[in-house]
Each structure stands twice: as structure tokens, then as C-alpha cells.
């Protein structure tokens, strides 16, 4: 099962979850994902220790997709 979460003031919020067979849930997750991208968030798939990949499209087979805010030099 895939899960889309956003890191925010509450720690994190679950925006959507889906399974490979549930097309409707996946479409809803894609919509939520695009909405977050439009808000300026960046999608990242964590691939275990030391590995992460940025994504512009919601990968259907990902277990966890994280939306993060952009970083900047302090």
C-alpha cells in the first residue's frame, strides 16, 4: 500500500493512501500530490538509509512518498 504524507507543523499529515489495484484511490492520491506540488512542496521517495529520490509524478509502486518544503541557505 502506498502512502502520501506531508511534513508540517503537526509532525506529518497523511494526505492519501492507495493500493496498486485501487485506481480511484490512486487517482485521488495523484490529485493530492499535484496540489502539494502547486503549493511549492517537493516530492521525495525515501528508499531506506542513505537513499532518497525526488519525484515529479506520484509513483504507483512507492510505499511512502513524502512532501517536503524547499530548503535554503540560512
Amino acid at each position: 500500500m502506498g502512502r502520501l504524507i506531508r511534513m508540517d507543523a503537526s509532525g506529518h499529515s497523511t494526505l492519501a493512501d492507495w493500493t496498486a489495484l485501487d485506481e480511484k484511490a490512486y487517482d485521488a492520491a495523484v490529485e493530492a500530490f499535484r496540489r502539494e506540488l502547486d503549493e511549492g512542496y517537493i516530492g521525495v521517495v525515501s528508499e531506506g538509509e542513505g537513499h532518497a529520490t525526488q519525484v515529479r509524478e506520484l509513483p504507483r509502486d512507492a510505499d511512502l512518498v513524502i512532501m517536503r518544503r524547499p530548503i535554503a541557505g540560512g
Binding site: 509532525g11 538509509e49 537513499h51 525526488q54 517536503r68 530548503i71
Partner: protein
């Protein structure tokens, strides 16, 4: 940590910077050594010269020596300050954020983060220590201090670290370029100015930086 599949989008906000890499960091370290020497040597020479000319100038020579000491100390302090927690801290969501950050880390890194507040991460440029609003990179017996933060002041402390960690894992070169380089110097110079709880993390990162990364075992 492996090379990123795509560069960090945040690079678009610093188009004037050239990408940091294995060659540029030692150059930065040498530049910092040069500037430190350029600050210290004239003051020491002035103090020695004054004492030779007239021992009654001792107090002025002392002031010159104090300058030679305090200027490098201030630079090192600036470096250590990058990992000091800053600003308003949203502790409300911290428990959830801490759990989420823990899920991103291995067992040892998780324990170290809870004790020291810093996440240790090995990259191709060296060993990183990621804090809430900055990161230290231990590489070639030098500590590079970077000021960098997530663009949301409402985030709980552990989520700030998670933001930086995910960006670092996505594109280490991009992360190093986006971050502001604040200082480079010997680990002992930064260590003295770090919060006491963070010092073990720097000691471990320094030890690990001189050892090759562990290779995955191959079973036959």
C-alpha cells in the same frame, strides 16, 4: 548515499553558485586556513615587535595577542553555531516528527540523534552531521560548517532535520551548493564551541571520516 537522479530544485534559487564537489571543498578549507593565518600572524608579529622595541608596550602587545586569539575563535564559533537550535520551536508536533525521523534512520543513527540532536549520514563528500538549521561535513580532517534550513518556521525540530536529511540524500552536491558555507577548520576548533551534548557526534563523525565506508558483505 548515492548520486542523485535529479538535481535539487532549490539550485534554481542560487544560479550564481558553481556546484560544490570533492575538489572545491579542499579549496575552501585551504582558503580558510590562509585567511586565519593572515589574521593571526600580523597581530603576533606586531606584539613581538612592540615588545622588542619597548617592553613598556607590553599592554598593547597583550591586546594584539588577544586579537590574534579571538578572531579565529569567533570564526570557529560562527561555524559551530550553524547546528545550534534557533528561533521559535514548535514542540507540539515533535513527538510525531521524532518518530518519523527515526523511521528514516538506522538503529545507531537514531540513538545518536536522540542523544546529540544531530543525524550522522555518510555521503560521498564525507560524513555529515545534520542539525535543525545547519549541517557539519567532516572531510579530509576538516569540518565544513553549512547554514541551511527548511523554509517553514512552524515545523517541529525533528521535521526540520528530516527536511535537510531528505534533501541531502536526494542530491548531496546540490545540498552542499544551496547551503551557505560558514566556516572550515580543524575539528578541535569547532568541537570547543559546540554544545556539550553534540560533541560525541562530531568525535564519531571525525573517526568515521578517516575510515573507508563499510562495504556490503558478499555471501558465497
Amino acid at each position: 548515499m548515492e548520486a542523485a537522479s535529479a538535481p535539487l530544485p532549490e539550485l534554481a534559487s542560487v544560479p550564481w553558485r558553481s556546484l560544490e564537489d570533492e575538489a572545491s571543498l579542499p579549496r575552501r578549507a585551504r582558503l580558510w586556513t590562509f585567511f586565519t593565518t593572515a589574521h593571526v600572524v600580523p597581530f603576533i608579529a606586531a606584539a613581538a615587535g612592540l615588545m622588542l622595541l619597548n617592553p613598556l608596550a607590553g599592554p598593547v602587545a597583550f591586546v594584539a595577542l588577544m586579537h590574534a586569539w579571538i578572531i579565529p575563535e569567533l570564526y570557529a564559533c560562527r561555524g559551530a553555531n550553524v547546528v545550534r537550535p534557533k528561533g521559535a520551536r514548535n514542540e507540539g508536533g515533535e513527538e510525531v516528527a521524532q518518530g518519523f525521523l527515526g523511521d528514516l534512520l538506522g538503529h545507531h543513527a537514531r540513538d545518536l540523534q536522540r542523544e546529540t540532536g544531530l543525524v550522522m549520514e555518510r555521503g560521498k563528500l564525507g560524513v555529515w552531521l545534520v542539525g535543525e538549521a545547519g549541517a557539519l561535513l567532516v572531510s579530509a580532517r576538516r569540518v565544513h560548517c553549512f547554514c541551511v534550513r527548511a523554509g517553514d518556521d512552524e515545523l517541529p525540530p525533528s521535521d526540520r532535520i528530516a527536511h535537510l536529511l531528505l534533501a541531502l540524500r536526494s542530491d548531496e552536491t546540490g545540498f552542499t551548493t544551496v547551503a551557505n558555507h560558514a566556516f572550515a577548520g580543524a575539528p578541535w576548533r569547532v568541537r570547543r564551541r559546540l554544545e556539550a551534548r553534540m560533541r560525541p557526534a562530531l568525535a564519531e563523525a571525525t573517526r568515521r571520516s578517516v575510515r573507508p565506508p563499510p562495504q556490503p558483505s558478499i555471501s558465497v
